[in-house]
Symmetry: C2
Subunit: 300 residues, 2 copies
């Protein structure tokens, strides 16, 4: 998906999503993966002080009024989808905000929801560049964990953006039988934490999703926003990765673009029953630190 | 390292290792990573019935008599090294056999030992190709776990061959402060478990070590045997991978070949304090299945 600017209306943005959904359906697609925060610009790059300033980026209700036309069109066409959005929810009298995605079946059934666990960036501005990465300021850490959801095309696991850099994300879902991972992301071309060569941004994206696919014998469908939102550039590089770790479809434009692939859902099976037959080969007795220890601890 | 044939003597093979050690030292190398089972052919491809038949591939004592000239030369040159070998050890009256590697400091000090945890292949022959992969037949699962060892060049973590495909391997060592991962391997060009396109063998090797480097902000030094041992071909592709996930040195021949790189030991630091600052970003409360569950379990 190309850029969404601050002044773009949600109505116009959702119309673009619907246009891409129709194009995918025209090519025979049964499922569509949309980006993270697909209804608005990537607003965590800006500094806001109060909910009054940033609540306009959030959705309430599922579908929210803005999403409704997309939900209706997808159901009419019989296409399932993954959609990322900023979620505002009031539970037990408390208001929470999450970086969320939802999985909707081809018949309009809500199959699952995920709230982003690995929030990157900071809570307070760094003032190191002409933009920030304030996800920890606007969102709480997701409380739903990593799950998988049965669907007509196979068992689907969902995550969002920075989650894809962590092998833990995919392994937890693979242990629950995931055959397809879907994820949306928004990745700036500039690393504001370190003066890093620009080409590494795309390399790290591809290394993360290709290794995740191979090491779990599952498909990865990864959808980005690309181009520059109000001058702030993102890497794009939406991709479909086979369970062999091979990227079989790759978006190359800086604007709205649909990539499709006829995914052989049996391709990953040989990987899951040979080199990555978890039951036969995993040695959890030697993995203890992964769940018992959060940070690095060095014994002298 | 080029092929080691069944009829090659250990004396001749160790002389080749010493030759490569001298070449590396001549280029200024302070540390050398040798392959898995570097003193013999990759014997788990053959079917043997009794220890009398296969014990000739194993080493007893550290250094074993066969290794001694290598240990002496390395100490004389002041070069540290990693060496893979088949280990036979009698402990408490019981004989054990492991696929082992050892880390020796530039002053000859034994810094650490590792016994392979993720043994691939089978215990019984598959009879699917003109060779087998019988590591589970000749070796016990390693009992030492994944550790890191302090050295003059940084904190080193060790693993062997199939371990490199498992992100758990590297994460457990990174959580103990690993700055360099060393590993030896022997990977046949043919996947005997599935008729897989040949190019995937090298792709999966590179995906595994490049993602491990990036996702832990550490160097990877990976050394293979290459060429064909008595007609059985291996992929080679020994590599040095930077903490950015970029392969900076790569072996391309089918024979003994030394690759070197002046590794900037501070390069990974920015990755370990930003995107992969484990203490700040890991969410172990959502990783539970990784250590509580070995195989796939699907909830309906």
């Amino acid at each position: 998906m190309g850029p969404v600017h601050l002044n773009d209306t949600k109505e116009a943005t959702v119309a673009r999503l619907i246009g891409m959904l129709r194009e995918a359906h025209g090519r025979g697609a049964k499922w569509v993966t949309f980006p993270e925060l697909a209804l608005t610009t990537f607003f965590p790059r800006y500094i806001y002080e109060t909910p009054q300033e940033y609540d306009r980026f959030f959705e309430e209700g599922l579908p929210s009024p803005a999403m409704l036309p997309l939900f209706e069109t997808a159901k009419a066409l019989g296409v399932g989808f993954y959609l990322g959005f900023a979620e505002k929810v009031t539970e037990g009298g408390e208001t929470h905000r999450y970086n969320t995605c939802v999985l909707v079946g081809p018949d309009g059934t809500l199959l699952g929801k995920y709230r982003k666990v690995h929030l990157p960036g900071t809570k307070d501005p760094l003032h190191k560049a002409n933009f920030e990465h304030l996800e920890k300021r606007y969102f709480e850490v997701g409380d739903l964990g990593f799950n998988t959801f049965k669907s007509p095309i196979g068992r689907i696991g969902m995550c969002i953006c920075n989650d894809r850099r962590w092998p833990e994300t995919f392994r937890v879902m693979a242990l629950q039988g995931a055959e397809i991972f879907m994820l949306g992301y928004n990745t700036p071309t500039l690393n504001i934490h370190h003066p890093e060569p620009a080409h590494l941004r795309a390399l790290h994206h591809r290394l993360s999703i290709e290794s995740a696919a191979y090491q779990n014998g599952a498909w990865v469908l990864a959808a980005a926003k690309c181009g520059a939102e109000d001058g702030f550039a993102m890497i794009g590089g939406s991709a479909i990765v086979a369970p062999t770790g091979e990227t079989v479809a790759y978006a190359v434009s800086e604007e709205d673009e649909v990539i499709t692939h006829a995914c052989d859902m049996e391709l990953g099976e040989y990987i899951r029953r040979s080199v990555f037959d978890f039951a036969r080969h995993r040695r959890i007795e030697h993995y203890g630190l992964i769940t018992s220890q959060t940070g690095v601890e060095i014994a002298e």
